[in-house]
Symmetry: C2
Subunit: 410 residues, 2 copies
């Protein structure tokens, strides 16, 4: 470690100083509260996972994109890039004992080894919501509704974001109706997922490489103009449920939502800010085959992944950089060493009343004390001088309104 | 991955199923609340740390005890075994900007690669409290007081645990008074730290290897019988402050508390259950040289590390395995598909009132619904049948008292 660079975090990793933690807590608190309101149970697992489990879900090429290494007994382990394989492992391990459907949630740190681009880190936290063992589209509605609730709890409204919804099953039906056989659909999904990221001509080439004729390619592009979901029973039901539950104003049908991962089987969704300034806020869908992929019993599931990075950027942009900071607690200080015990006793008393107390550790001049109390974000401050202790009464000052009230020291 | 073993967590790593998370949340919530009450600010950093930073604090032999590996650009990185080097790095990076004293706290996952013994995992979470940049012994008092507060918030009382306190400075003064020169003290501390873990004869041999004469060894053992701290100004002050703040009943002077790490310079402390059944619950002390070790400015500091494993074992033993589980929230179910929309609407209404709602995703027979609601730990349950929806009134049942009250569906 060169002395010059010795104090920086490892490349791609984040430090959270207190001002950063205020934002992280705002986001995580909303995740937890929304998961709790929707009746999800919390779970977690270690960020170190078996490499083979990850490779079984994502393919051996996963090794190029993740941190992996061997322990001293030559076990191949890795820092997980996502939580879903671990979730599948935990469910498969206790599939006989667990009472389905499961509604599970976690905030999981995940690592990816990717080229550094602006704002792209190699680790992030991802809020996961999963309902496992339930076919009803009410599962999708509950997951999407909880995610919208989290955004509302962070201070955003449906005018700030929208959830774009489609269905792989519906898209498959439309493709089949155009004569494109089911065995080619996976290739079509992969190509269509690139729309907006590459020119249509390249996507057409990908489709032809996937075995589609010229007319099938044309049919595929015309399917992407579909504006109505009414011929899909499950999408109709989802929009109906969203309307009953009160979050229909957050949803929009968009046949172009595909989701990159091949394991989705039904409804898929992605949330974006309405101004289109940021990458996806969250995404997810129904995946009915994951447990069988890793060797468990067939189980239907709906899941969502919601990272901490994009939403924090969005919140700072929409609410302002200082929106997460709120004044809180009481600063307690004292003028001479003789007032220290009274300050310690007052701090103990206020803490016993449930207050946050930042107790000065040495005596200070009042000016220095109040200046520090103010800049540290305290809501109130008490400073004890000889007279206060003698009288047994001090003044509690509200640092915003400058109002004072008397408090008893005994 | 063999199919047989494929669903287990990697060796030494923990899965947290919902029942485990209830305990973890109980412990973490107490950590956070106690840190907040005492006015500490939260910080965090990535679990992946620069290897050289860790080695600079702990020596190159740290490589035998931790997970470390190289990234694809040959950067030597590691899973941190403790938070203190990272804290020192973060403070050093902004030493000019930060306003001291800092009172910082985090709950950090830490990894150690050690032989697996019963109950010893390779990762744990450690609550850290540090006050940086303050010489006053009020810093020690605030850190120890906050840790005792956390134990109280978990449901323990001073009859369950005690914090044993000593001072390396005081012990050094006693050794010096017996003619043992300062340059030998570090060796003496290392030997004395083994007391209780190996026979006194071996400790005597270690002391002789450290350059002590026969009579100095005898003097050292007799110093370990010291029962009074009154000739130490800092210990006298600490006990006085604990008494003023109201946690003196948690403290006991014990000259035998040394702490293994060489970096402590003053007061040291360790907390144990009074029955002596478990390993140390938390430990810490004053360390004044850490920032200079990694290349920062000289800074006095007091720190505490409080792991999640031992305290959770202790809590389960003292409070019972089921003590963390509390009934909460409302289960909402419905008899026929025709009542689903009413159930969805009721769930949305109850959630808007701030309630946790576990909404059934399909219609069920009442018996099955109530049985699941009961076993899932709901506090209340509402089941909607055709009559309820027609009347617009349903019954909310308290699952503990069996009492029912009517609630309006419209």
């Amino acid at each position: 470690m060169a002395d010059k660079m010795g104090f920086e975090a490892p490349r791609g990793m984040r430090d959270f100083y207190p001002a950063d933690m205020v934002w992280r807590n705002k986001v995580f608190d909303a995740f937890r509260a929304a998961g709790e309101a929707a009746g999800f149970e919390q779970y977690d697992a270690c960020v170190v996972e078996n490499y083979d489990l990850l490779a079984r879900k994502a393919g051996e090429e996963v090794g190029d994109q993740i941190y992996h290494f061997f322990d001293k007994s030559e076990r191949h382990i890795a820092l997980r890039p996502e939580m879903t394989p671990t979730l599948a492992r935990m469910v498969a391990q206790r599939q006989k004992e667990l009472s389905f459907p499961l509604k599970w949630t976690t905030i999981a740190q995940c690592f990816r080894y990717e080229r550094m681009t602006k704002g792209r880190k190699r680790e992030h936290y991802q809020w996961n919501l999963d309902i496992i063992g339930e076919d009803s589209v009410l599962a999708e509605a509950e997951v999407i509704g909880a995610a919208c609730d989290a955004l509302r709890r962070m201070g955003l409204s449906p005018s700030d974001f929208e959830v774009r919804v489609s269905s792989r099953k519906f898209l498959g039906e439309l493709l089949a109706a155009s004569g494109i056989p089911a065995e080619k659909h996976q290739q079509v999904f992969l190509a269509l997922d690139k729309r907006g990221k590459m020119p249509d001509s390249e996507i057409a080439a990908m489709l032809k490489d996937g075995g589609l004729s010229e007319s099938e390619v044309a049919a595929t592009f015309s399917i992407m103009e579909t504006k109505s979901y009414e011929s899909s029973a499950e999408l109709t039901e989802l929009f109906h449920l969203a309307s009953v539950a009160g979050f229909a104003d957050c949803l929009r049908f968009d046949i172009g939502v595909i989701r990159g991962l091949s394991y989705y089987t039904g409804i898929v969704f992605e949330c974006f800010d309405r101004k289109g300034e940021f990458r996806a806020i969250f995404g997810g869908g129904r995946y009915d085959n994951l447990l069988t992929t890793i060797g468990g019993e067939p189980t239907s599931a709906v899941g969502l992944g919601f990272g901490d990075v994009v939403v924090t950027e969005l919140l700072k942009s929409r609410l302002g950089e200082s929106a997460a900071a709120a004044r809180k607690g009481v600063a307690v200080g004292f003028m001479f060493p003789e007032q220290r015990d009274a300050a310690v006793m007052l701090a103990a008393k206020l803490r016993a009343e449930g207050k946050r107390v930042d107790l000065a550790l040495v005596n200070q001049k009042p000016k220095k004390f109040f200046s520090h109390a103010d800049s540290s974000g305290a809501a109130e401050a008490v400073f004890l001088g000889p007279d206060d202790v003698e009288k047994g009464v001090a003044r509690l000052k509200n640092l915003e309104t400058r109002e004072e009230k008397e408090i008893c020291l005994r």
